[in-house]
């Protein structure tokens, strides 16, 4: 880099600028960081006003009781009324992530280690479809697909596997998990498959040459190496799930339900920002633990965000 600079300087036509022998361009560095801040200012402003400020507002509101003084009354009410839902939300999100991870590893594993190229091509084409389908639309589809007399059960009955009276509607926590997994699986698979594809194949080849079965290679060699991207995808999925409103509202009518529904109910029916924000803070804490993992992975040394 230095070499090219001196060459360039030799070629550069004489300017009003100081000569080559001038000391290191200290005066030029200040404008650069000022420039940098100026360019970053609009985004930082948007971030501060539409994210950081509402975030602080939500925390403050969570600790402001009905009379206006501070206190933890809202949290008391939140746990009292929605304690079950809080546990439910955490459980559903974790279960979804676990299932999505396993299926993603299976699919990505086949894509990487599969021998039959036609099957691999088909799989690669198939699994991506739900990726760009929004949650609202997925919820609508699943609502009639998973119903007691919906298309899924009708197909099963049509194949003779069940009697019509035996069909079970999935419109509860199972439907929520199914919809979440359906929507998030391509995302996790994409990241995992990408990570697997960029692995050094020589290790895999070596293991296969020694006679290891493909499943063993997957579990003992491939998966440990893609742990990083897998964790990132899992955490992103968890955070996303804790924020989805449409799916639980449209699919899971009963109780318990995700706390997003409770938050929306508190706001739209009762204007009770205190309790709603208390629930919000609880969801932050739940994702904070998970997100901390992501942030550790996230900032790489060269500064380019993943």
């Amino acid at each position: 880099m230095n070499a090219s600079r001196t060459d360039a300087e030799a070629v550069r036509p004489a300017r009003a600028a100081p000569t080559v022998s001038e000391p290191s361009p200290a005066p030029r560095r200040l404008p650069e960081s000022v420039w940098a801040l100026a360019l970053l200012a609009p985004s930082l402003l948007l971030l501060a006003s539409l994210f950081l400020y509402p975030l602080s507002l939500s925390i403050r509101s969570a600790f402001t009781e009905r009379g206006g003084d501070g206190g933890t009354g809202n949290f008391g009410r939140a746990f009292d009324l929605y304690g079950g839902d809080i546990v439910f939300s955490g459980a559903v999100a974790c279960l979804t992530v676990a299932i999505a991870d396993i299926l993603a590893i299976a699919i990505a594993g086949y894509l990487t280690l599969g021998r039959n190229q036609t099957a691999v091509a088909w799989l690669r084409w198939l699994y991506r479809w739900p990726l760009f389908i929004p949650f609202v639309v997925a919820a609508q589809m699943m609502r009639s697909f998973l119903a007691k007399n919906g298309l899924m059960n009708n197909a099963i009955v049509g194949l003779g596997l069940l009697e019509p009276t035996q069909t079970v509607g999935f419109l509860d926590w199972r439907g929520v998990i199914v919809t979440f997994v359906w929507k998030q699986l391509p995302f996790v698979t994409l990241i995992v498959a990408g990570a697997m594809a960029s692995l050094d194949r020589s290790m895999i080849e070596a293991a296969r040459n020694l006679g290891a079965g493909r499943l063993r290679v997957l579990i003992e060699i491939v998966v440990p190496q893609i742990r990083g991207p897998l964790v990132v995808a899992s955490v992103l999925t968890f955070v996303t799930l804790m924020s989805v409103l449409s799916v639980p509202m449209m699919i899971n009518a009963g109780s318990p339900t995700m706390i997003t529904v409770d938050m929306a109910y508190r706001i739209t029916s009762l204007s009770d920002y205190g309790t709603a924000n208390a629930l919000g803070v609880i969801s932050y804490l739940m994702t904070a633990a998970v997100a901390w993992l992501y942030l550790r992975q996230g900032i790489r040394r060269d500064g380019v965000p993943p």
Binding site: L81, N149, A253, S269
Partner: protein, 381 residues
């Protein structure tokens, strides 16, 4: 490429300009709480009728959603404008629930218009003056009265339970067959819960007429605690429409529904005409929805004309009763004279006027209402 982008952005800006009608036109903004059928009523029937009678006016309807949350949204809009000191508000007429109207009146957001319109005298029912304990006389006109009833499939349930007690036994014997939408999905579920409390505490008089007695709290809690095991044996549905939908698809065989929504669904082909209705004892609530005119609505005169048209006997007969299957907002005799026997009788096929008189009840007083909802969340969920 950059040039193409800029042109794209420029056209986007133009597109984003609100699709405002031409300057020669006045817009009448109507906001309505409630299910989609409320918006349809204005878009498909009342709006065009008003526009035909008042050339140069265009009626724009906005729905804010079912249940009290829909009315709350309208309240918040008006409240925000009042607090900001806006002189001409952007809602001219609104249709809200009883609690919403009382809330708005308490914040001085309503215009007292009933005595200024010709149809104001056509309603003498208690509900035109009393909204769950709040005095709203002069500020509201009932748009319609509705009633909750239990819809059931007679092919599967030839002898439906006739009281709440019988229902509890029936649900124990037939788990999963009864469905309702809880208290978050819409008012039919809320009404069912209110009916439960009145039946189990036996305190209908106090709950409906007051005065508010905090000692009743314990009884309410006891009644709702008994609802928890009941809820374990029912199917929760996603909303007023959800109950109807699941009934239609055979996923439940019984559930509380709004009578008008039920008949509209049958007429639309969305519900099998085999399904029947019944009101279980001691009773199920019904409610009016009110036309209100915000105090600083932009088009005060047009708004009054609109409500006058909406509560005229002709419109009540043809629109409210015939097309949308609601019970009229103004007094029945004015409307009955406008319809033929058969159409009038249709309203009362399964639920007779007698049933309505004995088992059709108002919702409990506001304070009890809130208490019951909160207690339900605590003990019955």
């Amino acid at each position: 490429m950059i040039r193409k982008l800029s042109m794209l952005m420029a056209s986007a800006m133009l597109l984003a300009l609100p699709a405002a009608p031409g300057s020669a036109q006045t817009t009448l903004n109507v906001a309505t709480a409630g299910d989609q059928n409320m918006v349809d009523y204005i878009n498909d029937y009342l709006g065009p009728k008003f526009e035909a009678a008042n050339p140069g006016v265009s009626v724009v309807a906005v729905g804010t959603g079912p249940g009290d949350s829909g009315s709350l949204k309208i309240f918040e809009k008006l409240d925000a404008q009042a607090k900001a000191g806006v002189e001409a508000w952007d809602v001219d007429v609104a249709v809200v629930h009883q609690r919403g109207a009382a809330q708005m009146l308490a914040s001085d957001l309503l215009a007292k218009y009933r005595d200024e319109i010709a149809t104001g005298k056509l309603v003498t029912r208690d509900t035109a003056d009393n909204a769950l304990g709040a005095d709203v006389g002069g500020y509201v006109m009932p748009m319609f009265h509705s009633q909750i009833a239990i819809a059931y499939n007679p092919a599967i349930v030839p002898n439906p339970p006739k009281t709440y007690e019988e229902l509890v036994k029936w649900v124990a014997d037939n788990p999963g067959q009864f469905g309702y939408n809880g208290i978050k999905g819409g008012m039919s579920g809320v009404g069912f819960v209110m009916g439960w409390v009145e039946a189990m505490t036996g305190e209908s008089e106090k709950l409906e007429k007051g005065p508010y007695d905090p000692a009743l709290k314990a009884k309410i809690e006891e009644a709702l605690a008994a609802m928890k095991p009941f809820n374990a044996g029912v199917t929760m549905t996603p909303g007023n429409a959800g109950t109807l939908d699941m009934l239609n698809r055979g996923e439940i065989t019984m559930g509380p529904v709004w009578v008008d929504m039920f008949y509209t669904w049958v007429a639309d082909g969305k519900m099998s005409p085999e399904i029947k209705l019944a009101i279980i004892g001691p009773g199920l609530p019904g409610q009016p929805m009110y036309y209100i005119i915000p105090a600083k609505a932009a088009s005060q005169d047009l708004a009054r004309k609109f409500v006058e048209l909406a509560t005229s006997p002709e419109v009540q007969a043809e629109g409210i009763v015939k097309r949308f299957n609601w019970y009229p907002g103004i007094d029945a005799p004015h409307v009955q004279s406008q319809l033929d026997e058969a159409t009038w009788a249709k309203l009362f096929t399964d639920v007779t006027p007698d049933d309505l008189a004995t088992k059709g009840k108002p919702f409990p007083l506001s304070d009890y209402f809130t208490e019951i909802l909160e207690t339900y969340e605590r003990v019955a969920n």
